[in-house]
């Protein structure tokens, strides 16, 4: 059973889904929009990605990566669906 997202994760995912039109969103822009430090965002995105943490695979709602030297986050189809479901 997928784990429940906490408030921060829900807010971060919603903002990412709102801003990501397919090209991803720079972490620095998200940090400004959400008034969060980049460190918090990176940790949150890692938790929302498909990375295995504590022996359990993550939900795969986002993807972190690099594009032209800028660090970006993308929302996955599963992430978009989760956002719609919680809206």
């Amino acid at each position: 059973m997928p784990r429940l997202l906490d408030d921060l994760e829900t807010a971060v995912l919603a903002k990412l889904a709102e801003l990501d039109t397919g090209d991803g969103v720079p972490l620095t822009r998200l940090a400004k929009q959400l008034d969060q430090r980049v460190a918090v965002l990176i940790r949150t995105f890692t938790m929302l990605s498909d990375a295995r943490l504590g022996g359990v695979a993550g939900p795969g709602l986002v993807r972190l990566g690099e594009d032209e030297g800028r660090w970006r986050a993308w929302v996955t189809p599963a992430g978009r669906a989760a956002t719609k479901a919680s809206a």
């Binding site: 940790r43 295995r52 690099e66 660090w71």
Partner: protein, 770 residues
């Protein structure tokens, strides 16, 4: 790897050279995106504490709070390379033992627990449960718990260290060799009896207020690059900086801050040292005593002539003891002895004394260049004497600043990683956890090696680090480790200590500082204490390098649960939520009252430092002046006397780090600021010494140390490099030169190996085969 060359480095420390190096190391580790992304969270309030040095964090206003060497540490941890059981098991351990430290480091992150298979001479996969069962069985089978030693690296978090010392003491021993034994032990040993605190007294705020900063035996450009930010700011506002160091080091001369756009755009830089004192290796004590003598003489002169006194008599009267004896001893010291032993002319010492006398607020910093000598404890006490003469302790802008190495080396000691625990601490620990801790003192690092060699220690457990490469007398240390029944290493990367092992050996891979730690109660953070006693939270943000990694607290808890079935400590419950560990820490240490609350504040909190309040926790209730004679019977003096009739040119060797190195970890083969590229087997030597021994720059030599214990200790095949270093002094990298230091050559009163003053001779050698 760089092409081998020796090429003078013209640039400042930091600057574009540092940025280029950052990019190179991130690329090399295959982690340009992840590594760089990770760096945005280094030393930030919600991020992780850099796994490198223990220099404090600023107020977190900068986006970037890391340095070139922090990047190397982070890149190394965030590497995409993996040392799986298949990778390590592809070769025999004997084959790996022939490879360089750099090659071992480059294998990448260890992904699963592994056990040594003596039949095939290879490491192979083992399940965690089986690994814990194996260690527990060996520990329980020992007839005496004191036949096990438990080493701690300075990277270990407070939570892991606290559980670890608890487990070891419940098991029944105080055998806690640690990396502090090899670095700042003399700082604690020197400071505690004189000012009542074994730690530095200053904060970064004091650096903003000081008029004069004295830097003894320290190379911040390589070892604590973030300290250059404080020194640069101090220099810009007119604070004088006096660097006392045998080698000319670029980081003590000029620094370009990579975050300063103007400085970077104009290729500009800021001078660091206003005065650079080229003391001879081990000559600091005589130099500092000379300063004290000059201050006292100036005070005498001022008082006789009705001028303002130089010495702070009010401070001395109210806060100190032993002044009269110290004053007499210092005034009686012979200038010829001071000049000979310091390697400095009186006029040069007078110039620094003038700056000291003219300054109202003075900080004294020091590193391994002070501590790794036979008389390091006395030297540190002489620094305290100098500061106390003018009341430079316990007030704004003044105090002592031993600059610690690894990121939590100070915190580990605070948590009880100490082979000589106080009775009060043991009483409290026993009361909180319901057991009777062992009372007899345990082994330090030298003691642990000796015990292994004597067959008195059969199990060696290391919480991180690289014991075989960090310790002196390499061949003896190797024999010691190989004589153990079991060696166990908790580690993130493969290193020398894993290929110099006991009959049985285990590698237990742990999470790195940059990685998310998920336990039953959710994601966890750990705490660390920096060089200035600030305790703060560190939480990772990357996915672990492997799903099989355990956190260090979890490794300790599971090992304890397997070894101590009747323990009253709820080991596995504690690691479900590290807040519970911190509650126990709070129960044992009064200074940690409100621990879980206090660390919610960005930057954490400062542990009480009584000396910085002019409260002296000494038997007399006062700070103590300590009189010491200038050392004239060191191992170097003895070697020179015994070799005189042979006309041997006896040189004093200091072991140093290269710029691409942090402690024993070799991230690369360059030492940019000293102009060395693609190689490590070099000896820095004065031109005149080259001429005297009939050799020239580029020649190859073997180094033999000169001790009277009848053991020949030799390190072979080093290339001579002409360098700006005082006559009679040479320098070379460790761990390559560790074999030259006998176990029995250590600091009086601290037992820290004397790796900074090794009497040696050089003999011509052939160039190594290509």
């Amino acid at each position: 790897m760089s092409e081998q060359k020796i090429e003078f480095y013209k640039g400042p420390a930091g600057g574009w050279g540092a940025l280029k190096s950052v990019a190179k190391h991130l690329m090399h580790e295959g982690a340009p995106g992840k590594g760089a992304r990770t760096l945005l969270a280094a030393n930030q309030p919600d991020g992780f504490d850099c796994p490198g040095c223990a220099w404090p964090d600023r107020s977190h206003t900068s986006t970037f709070e890391f340095c070139e060497n922090g990047v190397k540490a982070v890149a190394s941890e965030s590497t995409s390379k993996r040392a799986t059981p298949e990778v390590i098991g592809a070769q025999t351990v004997s084959w790996w033992a022939e490879q360089s430290d750099y090659v071992l480091e480059q294998l990448g992150r260890i992904t699963e627990p592994m056990v040594y298979d003596a039949v095939t001479d290879r490491y192979k996969r083992i399940a965690w449960d089986d690994a814990f069962t194996l260690v527990a069985a060996e520990l329980k089978a020992l007839p005496d718990p004191n036949q096990a030693s438990f080493y701690t690296s300075g990277r270990t978090s407070n939570e892991a260290a606290f559980l670890y010392q608890l487990f070891v003491r419940e098991y029944g021993t105080n055998n806690f060799p640690d990396c502090s034994n090899m670095c700042h032990e003399p700082s604690g040993s020197g400071l505690r009896p004189t000012i009542g605190v074994g730690k530095g007294t200053v904060t970064l705020h004091d650096f903003e207020k000081a008029d004069l900063i004295l830097i003894f035996g320290q190379n911040p450009g390589t070892n604590h690059p973030r300290m250059l930010g404080e020194l640069r700011d101090a220099s810009k506002r007119g604070c004088k900086i006096v660097s006392v160091n045998p080698l000319r080091e670029r980081g003590l001369e000029r620094f370009a801050d990579p975050q300063d756009k103007l400085e970077m755009a104009t290729m500009g830089s800021t001078p660091i040292s206003s005065h650079y004192v080229r003391v001879r290796i081990g000559g600091d004590f005589a130099f500092i005593k000379g300063l004290c003598k000059l201050v006292l003489e100036a005070d005498e002169h001022a008082r006789l002539n009705g001028l303002a006194p130089i010495v702070d008599s009010a401070f001395i009267a109210e806060h100190t003891t032993g002044f009269d004896a110290f004053m007499q001893d210092a005034l009686d010291e012979d200038w010829s002895v001071i000049e000979t032993e310091s390697g400095l002319a009186k006029a040069e010492i007078e110039a620094v004394a003038k700056q000291y006398i003219e300054s109202k607020r003075v900080i004294a910093c020091w590193g391994m260049g002070i501590t790794q000598h036979q008389h390091s404890v006395a030297t540190i006490q002489m620094i305290v004497n100098l500061l106390m003469l003018r009341g430079n302790l316990g007030r704004e802008g003044a105090g002592v600043c031993p600059v610690r190495g690894h990121s939590n080396v100070q915190g580990d000691r605070t948590m009880g990683i100490n082979e000589k625990p106080t009775a009060a601490f043991l009483d409290r620990l026993g009361k909180v956890f319901g057991f009777e801790p062992p009372r007899s003192h345990g082994h330090d690092t030298v003691g642990a090696i000796e015990a292994m060699l004597e067959g008195k220690c059969k199990v060696f457990f290391a919480m991180g680090g690289n014991f075989a490469a960090a310790t002196p007398d390499t061949l003896a240390t190797y024999r010691a480790l190989q004589s153990c029944d079991l060696t166990v290493h908790v580690a993130t990367k493969f290193n020398r200590s894993h290929v110099v092992h006991g009959q049985q050996a285990l590698l237990l891979p742990c999470l790195g500082r940059t990685e998310i730690d998920v336990q039953a109660a959710g994601t966890q953070g750990v705490t660390v204490e920096d060089s200035m006693s600030m305790v703060h939270l560190s939480a990772g943000l990357n996915a672990p390098a492997s799903e099989h990694l355990l956190s260090e607290p979890m490794i300790v808890a599971r090992l304890a649960a397997a070894t101590l079935p009747h323990s009253k400590t709820p080991w596995l419950d504690l690691v479900a939520d590290y807040k519970l560990i911190r509650e126990r820490i709070e129960a044992v240490f009064d200074d940690f009252a409100g621990f879980n609350e206090k660390i919610k504040k960005p930057g954490g909190f400062r542990l009480r430092n009584t000396a910085s309040e002019r409260v002296w926790n000494t038997p007399s209730g006062k700070a103590s002046f300590t009189a010491h004679a200038v050392p004239r019977d060191t191992f170097v003096h003895r070697a020179k006397a015994s070799e005189k009739h042979r006309d041997t040119v006896v040189l004093t060797l200091a072991t140093v780090r290269s710029h691409d190195q942090y402690n024993t970890t070799v991230y690369g083969m360059d030492d940019r600021y000293r102009g060395v590229y693609g190689q490590r087997r070099v000896v820095f030597i004065n031109d005149e010494d080259l001429r005297e021994i009939g050799l020239k720059d580029g020649d190859w030599v073997d180094i033999t140390s000169l001790y009277a214990d009848g053991v020949e200790r030799k390190a072979e095949k080093f290339r001579l490099v002409s360098y700006d270093i005082p006559r009679g002094n040479i320098a070379s990298y460790y761990p390559e030169t560790n074999p030259l230091v006998p176990l029995q050559s250590f600091a009086i009163g601290a037992r820290t190996p004397t790796s900074k003053s090794i009497p040696v001779k050089l003999t011509r050698s052939d160039a190594p085969a290509a």
